[in-house]
Symmetry: C2
């Protein structure tokens, strides 16, 4: 299935200069140095990494520009990509698109098109979400605004306690701010099971005014935000941060008639092709495969976005590569607690119809006789012992998640998790690693010897 358009004068248009877009653009210019590759980006930055915003807010990073993996000139001069920032695409049609830069419209032709339009912050659908002092951190530009506003705020409300919510809660409390976190679920980190999230909850309650099982019903204020009203309370505030998930940007894709998947993101195959020939999609706007369930899923995270972009770039260039999908792997932290997950939680697995078995253990992370930390780790499997997911909180979480990711990626069983030959070194682990102990607990529940 090699594309016929592999001559020397192919024009590629990429809408969106985030992870997927820049990754694809770089790949194409490497494989097809003579092609004309244009990237159109609304923001003044490309290759922006909103994952870094909390570190900018907490003053660990001084300049917002430092959060961009590379600056524009690198992409232009080193990689030969024609980057057009501050350019909003206002119309997409068959073989053309119209961009608007500083109020001026321009038309561009394309032979191949990549949607890398990303995602935008989710909304609550309450009044006054557009009020001054209410913002999200989904775009890197907002990082700057957020920091400026936060510095002079006396009372900040964060709505949502997913990983973005808790990372910002830490950043803001670290610079001495009074923070209220409002979460409609009974626990923070709704993707995690309670055995894990309850540990984060305790630490969160020490650091912020944490309100669970409360729904925001209104955001109020005159010229700017003044208070949040929930179904149980009112909270005065002068800054509100919306961290209530996200949704894919698919308006432009719809305009050209590209098929949208059940998840609401652009339907793609494993080559990142959409329903229209020569039109591709990658990153937070595109669907991919959930490697555990085997179903199409929407997984808007930086790593799969980069790799989808890479694969789209390879295929746009006329080569062949398949993107195998993603595991929704996450790593974050809240103060001293490292937090990680890959695959499905027990709740998610049940929702997917799996007959689930799970085990949760809490153990020391180093040999008994050395300075020590604690990790709580939960593994979820089906009744045949197929591993479905691993979550952990505490110390030395990343290494366990790295192992679990690799096992899940290769469709492992709990027996594999037991036997994979993880090395022992007293300061790093115990002879029976927490993953191994957890696997053994599941053996028992499965009546294995």
């Amino acid at each position: 299935m090699v594309n016929h358009l592999n001559g020397d004068n192919v024009r590629v248009a990429i809408i969106g200069g985030g992870a997927a877009g820049m990754s694809a653009g770089s790949r194409i210019k490497r494989l097809r140095p003579n092609w004309d590759v244009k990237v159109f980006e609304r923001a003044p930055y490309v290759s922006h990494a909103p994952c870094g915003v909390p570190f900018y807010v907490s003053r660990m990073v001084e300049r917002i520009e430092d959060l961009c993996a590379y600056d524009i000139s690198h992409f232009k001069s080193e990689r030969g990509i024609d980057v057009r920032t501050r350019t909003k695409i206002v119309e997409v049609g068959d073989g053309y698109l119209i961009g608007e830069t500083d109020g001026k419209k321009m038309r561009f032709e394309w032979d191949k098109l990549l949607f890398a339009t990303g995602a935008r912050a989710g909304r609550l659908n309450v009044n006054c979400e557009e009020l001054d002092g209410v913002l999200c951190v989904h775009y890197i530009e907002n990082g700057e605004r957020l920091k400026k506003l936060a510095e002079k705020s006396s009372s900040i409300v964060i709505i949502g306690s997913g990983y973005i919510g808790i990372e910002l809660a830490e950043a803001l409390t670290r610079i001495g701010k009074k923070v209220t976190v409002i979460e409609k679920e009974s626990h923070p980190l709704p993707d995690f099971d309670e055995e894990i999230s309850s540990i984060v909850m305790r630490r969160l309650c020490e650091k912020v005014n944490a309100r669970f099982s409360e729904s925001v019903v209104a955001i109020e204020g005159k010229d700017r935000v003044e208070r949040i009203v929930t179904d149980r309370n009112e909270y005065k505030c002068d800054l509100v941060i919306m961290a209530v998930g996200s949704e894919p940007n698919v308006e432009l894709a719809k305009q050209i008639g590209v098929e949208i998947g059940e998840s609401g993101a652009i339907k793609t195959n494993s080559r990142m092709e959409t329903s229209i020939e020569n039109v591709y999609a990658a990153g937070d706007c595109a669907e991919t495969t959930n490697i555990v369930t085997g179903k199409r899923d929407w997984i808007p995270l930086a790593v799969p976005a980069n790799k989808m972009g890479y694969v789209a770039g390879v295929n746009i260039s006329g080569y062949d590569m398949e993107f195998p999908g993603a595991l929704k792997s996450q790593l974050t932290s809240f103060y001293d607690l490292e937090i990680g997950k890959t695959g499905l939680s027990e709740r998610e697995a049940k929702r997917e119809g799996y007959d689930v078995i799970s085990a949760t253990i809490t153990t020391k992370t180093s040999a008994r006789y050395l300075p020590n930390g604690t990790i709580t780790l939960k593994a979820v499997a089906d009744k045949e012992g197929k591993l479905l997911g691993v979550q952990a909180v505490g110390r030395k979480v990343a290494m366990r998640i790295y192992s679990a990711v690799s096992l899940l990626y290769k469709k492992s069983t709990v027996l594999d998790m037991f036997f994979a030959d993880l090395p022992y070194y007293p300061p790093e682990n115990r002879v029976w690693d927490p993953l191994v102990v957890c696997a053994r607990q599941i053996f028992r529940k499965l009546n294995m010897p």
Copy 2:
């Protein structure tokens, strides 16, 4: 293949109370609580962990007893194992063995026998290895002697710079000792390739008098050791530590006629059965499968020893479990350098006849804009892209090795290493993890897009 001896009065004899022996004994008592399980151990300890000796020498651990995972009373009262310490087995025959405790001989009958006799420190075959002041750390008892001698030594020589050699070099320099390390190879850590070991070499040379490409030809002294003579120099010393590898203890197994493998360790199948019915072997005295090469191999490390013991215990109990083999995974450190390896080095892979391709990268371990460390990582693959091994040195090594172990265990390719969905979190890694970058380098060498 369930054993016929599954009644209520089965007598199991286990020779050796280390990792494999105690692991097997515990498993048997859990699955067959009424069976008579005896463990015979030469030392006054069981479940001893010589891996902890360097932390005892460096005064991080106060009491040598703390290095034992559990004390004897735990195994006796909690697990119901009849533990006989300070008991040397002097004769093994069909259905019986003779042990000697404090000079007194006793005969025991067995229906099933497990060799868990471990390994002993390697020798140089030079004069005077038995001289006072020359010792190895292979047995935990020696840990105590070593520490006492080291405390009053003014000049210590360590022969060998494998992981035991460098861990002791750190421990002894941390307590202010003057240490010379003599290594016959041109680099420390002979299991590693030079891209990795040369980094350790630089740090080693800062901390000790490190002598490479020198072979010890004599150990000299009158009443006790006074000097080491190499093919190039002489070194005055009052303590010599032998860290020149190890060899399996197979004398008793030979006595009963058990077949010995090519590696010199006891030949076993994946159920840990030897060539004689009802006789098993596990741990450092037994052969296992090298998961990468698929060949029988001798891998004397704590983790496989424990798991071989577990599997032997399950099978001795009349159930069925297979031990899949090991990857020779190692994790250690030298001062600020974390060091890890799994699978084959390039040198080892070539020796095994593989057509090898490799890539080595050095990169920062966190997002560019955060406090950072450096990791050097090398991956080895064959020309079809099958992953053969990963080695690393620097910061945040354990998590990469954990991922690589899990990938290797599942017989992955470099494409898997690229696509395994490792999560991104700015303080822990970069969007393109070092493993992913390394995989991409190998793509290039394999002319993949």
